[in-house]
């Protein structure tokens, strides 16, 4: 009887240890995938704020025009190009590749900015 108990206990302990080992090795795979990062650029007073934005690969950047004049967001290297944004209109772009992305407002070309993707 005692031998059976010891045997059962040993089995139980082994199963427990194995379960612990297995569960320690894997991430929380049953949880929802982590949210993609997002970042904001405010367009106001004929400027982009922040002028240089640093984000991680995969981040979606959203520009919002808070100025009382329309602006555009145009990549100097033709990677992205917004339509004309009137006050309160937005433009978003997801940066899938690392790099530096300078851009400007094609209506007021003195307005320049850059997104650095790391």
């Amino acid at each position: 009887m005692i031998r059976k108990t010891v045997w059962l206990f040993g089995l139980f302990a082994t199963v427990m240890v194995l379960t612990l080992l297995l569960s320690a090795g894997s991430p929380a795979s049953s949880a929802t995938p982590p949210q993609a990062a997002s970042a904001e650029v405010k367009v106001d007073n004929f400027s982009f704020g922040p002028a240089t934005l640093t984000v991680a690969v995969g981040t979606t950047v959203t520009w919002t025009n808070r100025d009382d004049i329309p602006h555009t967001v145009v990549s100097t290297d033709k990677v992205f190009k917004s339509k004309v944004l009137d006050t309160d209109e937005k433009f978003s772009f997801t940066f899938a590749k690392a790099g530096t992305y300078p851009y400007f407002c094609s209506i007021h070309p003195k307005m320049t900015g850059s997104v650095v993707v790391q």
Partner: protein
């Protein structure tokens, strides 16, 4: 301001009826609504609240036209919620001139967002002006989509390339230039190689005594580069015009009157008919400037230009909508 004064010519260096000191003194009053008329070699200045008070004889030249600019049809923010109304006031002002202008120049930003209905509205309002012919050049707000195709379809039928063209009226050669396309990051207005070659070719066979009027949206001189108020390659264009005794450059874009005389070239910017903008450096940015509602019309305006044959320089007069 009710006084009248007469500035006699003291030193007529160019034999063109203009004394620089008198001219500049007179032009300094332009912002407060003064009228300077050159007639018979004498620069006369009058205080001005309504242009119509000046007699037709005094206003007479051989060629008379009006420049309007920056109507921004479609703009509806606090700086002016009714740009159609103020454009109509500008037309009323034009129709009140004792001598009807023969035609009008619109130096761009006709629309605010390049929308067809915005262009339609401006065309409709201008139909009731005394001057039936209007010559346009685009502002950056007119070429927002499709690289200006819809602008060119509407206003560029007789134009070359990106919409530039020239024509002659009573011996004066007019050149409408486009400096709002293909703008580069961090840059200013730009004319571009193709247009510069056209300018050189266009004036090649003109007599040096031909008065030239150049009109374009962004100023062709360096008003305030920090705000984009200038044109990168205008020096080349002006070099092609160096041989002419009288060059008048009419621009818009900055929504305020400004004047500069450099040798034989007179540069002039017109007020907007929609909203004012701050003076260079006097604000964080060159955006619409809000003024008390009752003052709005006093910071908007039209420009009346007169040419008298034999007198090389053109008489350029600003008046507000107030």
């Amino acid at each position: 301001m009710a006084k009248k004064s007469k500035d006699e010519i003291l030193h007529d260096h160019n034999n063109d009826g203009i004394d620089r000191r008198g001219f500049l003194k007179c032009m300094a009053w332009a912002g407060t609504g003064a009228l300077c008329v050159m007639e018979g070699g004498i620069l006369k200045s009058y205080s001005l609240s309504r242009v119509g008070e000046i007699s037709a004889k005094e206003m007479a030249g051989e060629l008379s036209f009006v420049q309007i600019s920056d109507s921004h049809m479609g703009f509806n923010k606090p700086a002016n919620p009714d740009v159609a109304g103020t454009l109509k006031s500008a037309v009323e002002k034009i129709n009140g001139l004792s001598r009807a202008p023969e035609f009008m120049l619109h130096t761009g930003d006709i629309s605010h967002l390049s929308k067809p209905e915005e262009f339609d509205t401006v065309d409709q309002i201008l139909k009731s002006a005394s001057a039936k012919d209007v010559f346009f050049v685009p502002g950056e707000h007119d070429v927002l989509n499709d690289d200006g195709k819809s602008y060119l379809e509407r206003y560029g039928k007789n134009a070359k390339g990106g919409g530039w063209y020239s024509f002659d009226k009573k011996g004066v050669h007019f050149m409408g230039l486009v400096n709002v396309m293909n703008l580069k990051a961090g840059g200013l207005g730009t004319l571009g190689h193709e247009q510069l070659e056209w300018i050189e070719d266009d004036v090649q066979h003109l007599k040096h005594s031909t008065p030239i009027v150049v009109f374009a949206h962004i100023p062709l001189w360096s008003v305030y580069p920090e705000w984009g108020w200038g044109t990168e390659d205008s020096a080349q264009a002006l070099a092609y015009l160096k041989k002419f005794g009288s060059v008048t450059v009419l621009n818009g874009h900055i929504h305020q009157t400004m004047q500069k005389v450099e040798g034989n070239v007179t540069f002039h910017t017109a007020a907007s008919t929609a909203f004012p903008q701050p003076q260079p450096g006097k604000a964080d940015s060159p955006g619409p400037m809000k003024v008390p509602a009752e003052q709005l019309k006093s910071v908007l305006g039209i420009t009346n230009v007169n040419y008298v044959q034999g007198r090389q320089a053109l008489g350029v007069v600003d008046s507000t909508l107030a």
